[in-house]
């Protein structure tokens, strides 16, 4: 999990996959800094 520690992270989630806020929660728990997170619709 340390691969994200101290890193700045940009998140683009997928409505029909893993939404942005869910990825954000994981990244933050792994010590990453989320600079942008959103969920997009690809259809």
């Amino acid at each position: 999990m340390s691969i994200l520690k101290g890193k700045k992270v940009v998140i683009i989630g997928d409505r029909d996959g893993i939404p942005g806020p869910a990825i954000q929660a994981c990244v933050e728990s792994a010590g990453g800094e989320v600079v942008f997170a959103s969920t997009e619709c690809f259809v």
């Binding site: 409505r15 029909d16 996959g17 939404p19 959103s38 619709c41 690809f42 259809v43």
Partner: protein, 514 residues
């Protein structure tokens, strides 16, 4: 008693002219990259009407093959042909472009839709030959205008041109000089949406075998908005389409929720009928012009035909329980609430697992799940993957977590309880509802007991909330007979009264004996 699915209509309108001139990917490209390769090349990637009709997913959409038959077709689909493909199917049709433009003209109530005289003359008979097109609709098609008048309106920026086989054949004029809500672009989008809805309504009436006069309410769940500067989403597409379709006894309203709109509207329709407010309600969703050619850049880059060349539309008729049709069970509703959150297990839990658990069921009790039914032939080349499959993987994973499935059953779940996508990428059109027609048939034929329809909507696109949304409902075998077999409240009263009478009589007898 639960309300039932009485019939449904599923239609496609082949509109490559609209795709090449009005699709949002193309209009955006004209602004940001006017000299780019895509705009130069796209014309070479338009498939013929015959190829569009012979396209497997389209034949499934109008009901000429079950989605299970599509599963057996080798992927990709665009280079395979459906043998003996037909314009008409049991649920609807694939209308050619010229006829559709005439139908759209018949939907114009404000003299903004112009077609050239010769074009109308050449194609009116073709539209008249369509078995669902009424005399009243044909009478609304005007004789047409001079081409010079249309050219002037387009060249001075008052109208959006309409093109057939790359020639200007008509235009849609703005409905106000300065109000952007009534601009030519908006009027064009809304009239095309309305026309495609009308076509689906007419097919749904035929499929259900009911009269237009039987319909009492219409709910439109498209993603367009009509109104003016003071009420830009005032509506009402439902009543506007009902008027042209000849539903003289109907009123209606619009329901919105992005792609989740159809599932919300179906639940609303079922509730209105079950409550006794209206006996027959039609849920309609019309086509979306901006989404034509939406993934076209990727299709062209990969040498494929531009597969998003059709406006999609559907209409589902919900009515009072007739004792035999498949019914909507309002006791098993899935709902993604404000507090549900975005974690995938919460999302799928709220839409699938929670409602089933409340009813004492598991995923194994549902024969088929119909979530987002986008055709992977369109989405995969564009990098969006296989959307139905992504949904089945999430449902199966949650089912394993719940102990309803073994890990080893993960792979087979999508085949046994899922479907392959076959619907056009028209936003709300592929969202759950494409399978309602097949679900009704399979349930009534005794092949299935329950089907879950799942709708999801990307509310965040409207920039009012970061939330997304979703609802689900179950279509099941008719249970009216069981309900009739049960003891009614009236009968219970009679039984109690009789028991009390007997008891009183026995006391009197005992007193007399004493």
């Amino acid at each position: 008693m639960n309300s039932v699915i009485k019939g449904s209509g599923y239609c496609l309108s082949y509109t490559p002219g609209l795709m090449l001139h009005n699709g949002s990917t193309i209009t955006t490209e004209r602004v940001v990259n006017p000299d780019g390769e895509f705009l130069k090349e796209m014309g070479k990637h338009v498939r013929s009407y015959e190829d569009c009709v012979a396209y497997w997913p389209n034949q499934v959409y109008i009901g000429n093959a079950d989605p299970e038959e599509l599963r057996k077709v080798e992927f990709p689909y665009y280079d395979k042909k459906f043998e003996n493909a037909s314009r008409y199917g049991k649920f609807g049709e694939i209308m050619p472009e010229a006829e559709f433009l005439l139908l759209a003209q018949s939907c114009d109530c404000f003299e903004v839709f112009y077609l050239e005289k010769g074009f109308v003359e050449a194609h009116k008979k073709e539209l008249a030959a369509d078995p669902v097109i009424t005399e009243a609709i044909l009478n609304r098609v005007t004789a047409g205008s001079e081409l010079s008048e249309i050219e002037t309106l387009v060249s001075n920026g008052e109208a959006e041109g309409l093109y057939y086989e790359n020639k200007l054949v008509g235009c849609v004029k703005r409905a106000h000089d300065i109000d952007v809500n009534l601009s030519a672009e908006v009027m064009l989008e809304n009239l095309m949406n309305k026309a495609s809805s009308v076509l689906a309504i007419l097919h749904s009436l035929k499929n259900a075998g009911i009269s237009p006069d039987d319909v009492e309410y219409v709910i439109d769940c498209s993603e367009e908005a009509c109104g003016d500067v003071n009420q830009r989403g005032g509506g009402n597409f439902a009543k506007a389409a009902a008027e042209i379709a000849g539903l003289n006894n109907a009123t209606g309203s619009d329901s919105r929720g992005f792609c989740a709109g159809p599932s919300h509207a179906m639940i609303e329709a079922a509730a209105l009928v079950k409550a006794g407010a209206f006996r027959t309600v039609v849920v309609i969703g019309g086509g979306c012009v901006p989404k034509l050619g939406m993934n076209g850049k990727d299709h062209v880059k990969k040498g494929l035909p531009m597969l998003e060349d059709c406006l999609g539309a559907f209409a589902v008729i919900v009515s009072e329980n007739d004792g035999k049709s498949a019914e909507i069970n309002l006791d098993i509703l899935g709902r993604h609430t404000v507090g549900t959150g975005a974690a995938p297990q919460n999302v799928i839990g709220s839409l699938v697992a929670d409602p089933l658990e409340r009813a004492g069921l598991t995923v194994n009790d549902v024969d088929k799940f119909s979530p987002e039914m986008q055709n992977a032939d369109i989405t995969k080349p564009a990098g969006a993957g296989d959307v139905p499959m992504a949904n089945y993987k999430m449902i199966a994973a949650l089912a394993v977590k719940k102990g309803w499935l073994q890990k080893s059953e993960l792979a087979s779940f999508s085949e046994e309880h899922g479907l392959v996508g076959y619907a056009p990428t028209q936003g709300h059109i592929p969202s759950g509802v494409p399978y309602v027609g097949f679900a009704k048939e399979n349930i009534e034929a005794g092949k299935m007991n329950r089907v879950m329809i799942i709708g999801k909507g990307s509310l965040f696109l409207g920039r009012m909330t970061n939330l997304f949304d979703g609802v689900s409902f179950i279509i099941q075998k008719n249970t009216a007979e069981n309900e009739q077999g049960a003891v009614s409240e009236d009968e219970v009263r009679k039984l109690i009264a009789k028991a009390m009478k007997d008891f009183a009589a026995s006391i009197l007898d005992k007193e007399a004996e004493a």
